[in-house]
Symmetry: C2
Subunit: 156 residues, 2 copies
């Protein structure tokens, strides 16, 4: 029985996406300021969704720094260009993750006890969503799936 979850550790610095995103921002007329670059690089480094405040924290611990406002502004620009995906997983705080140009993506399992978030991927789910999107009256462009429950540690 194949596990649908994705090993969060497998992610390495996503240089491809970082360049892609910087290029997209440039094409949209944005300059390459320090804060903007720091946010993009931070996002490219993540294995899964992160909050704006987590990005702020991580950037602060690095060599650069970025004001909170600049982080939110950059995230807004990236989302507008479909370079990042903004999610709300029931925690009351928005999370952001890099949007792969190929459309490849994953969804999330959230532990309601400890808050752990684990990404997963499933072709059957994607097919089901594609099919019902076609049967709906909407022009569907995005979708989010969040599973809630207990992670293996908390369920034990």
């Amino acid at each position: 029985m194949a596990d649908v979850t994705i090993d969060p550790m497998k992610a390495t610095r996503n240089e491809t996406w970082i360049e892609h995103a910087m290029q997209g921002l440039a094409d949209a007329g944005y300059q390459k300021g320090a804060a903007r670059r720091a946010v993009v690089e931070c996002l490219g480094r993540q294995a899964c969704a992160v909050t704006a405040l987590e990005i702020e924290e991580e950037i602060r611990q690095g060599d650069t720094a970025a004001g909170r406002a600049s982080i939110y502004r950059t995230l807004e620009q990236l989302e507008e260009l479909s370079l990042v995906h903004r999610l709300e997983m029931g925690t009351g705080t928005a999370s952001y993750e890099a949007a792969e140009p190929g459309g490849e993506h994953h969804h999330h399992l959230v532990c309601d006890r400890c808050g752990r978030v684990v990404p997963f991927q499933d072709d059957g789910l994607e097919r089901a969503i594609k099919g019902l999107s076609r049967r709906s009256r909407f022009e569907v462009s995005e979708h989010d799936v969040t599973l809630h429950g207990l992670c293996e540690r908390c369920a034990a």
Copy 2:
């Protein structure tokens, strides 16, 4: 081609759920105060998810009234007892809807232009989620699916 969306107008006052919820609250040791009852009745009257502030508004227009704090407190209690389901659909505000005892439920299409929310139901989707939940390492108890895009009015 069968439409997966559900007619939001078909919902009528869900007396069954209202009684079920009031009973659940009573079993948990809660009293039958006016504010609590008003929130439960308002939820039982909804066709789809509503925000706390929409509940407040609707209650105010009725004969009763309820303070904002009481509304949030009641919603929290109902959610803890799994009598309501709390959702975040990317709007930055939480929504709540009655949780049917039988487990029957729907998901949501959100128009990113006008904000309209339309419920839908799809067995294939439910099967896919049940299957992958089994293959995950989580003990999955709930799931939310939100499709984003443009509604037929905004897409035109």
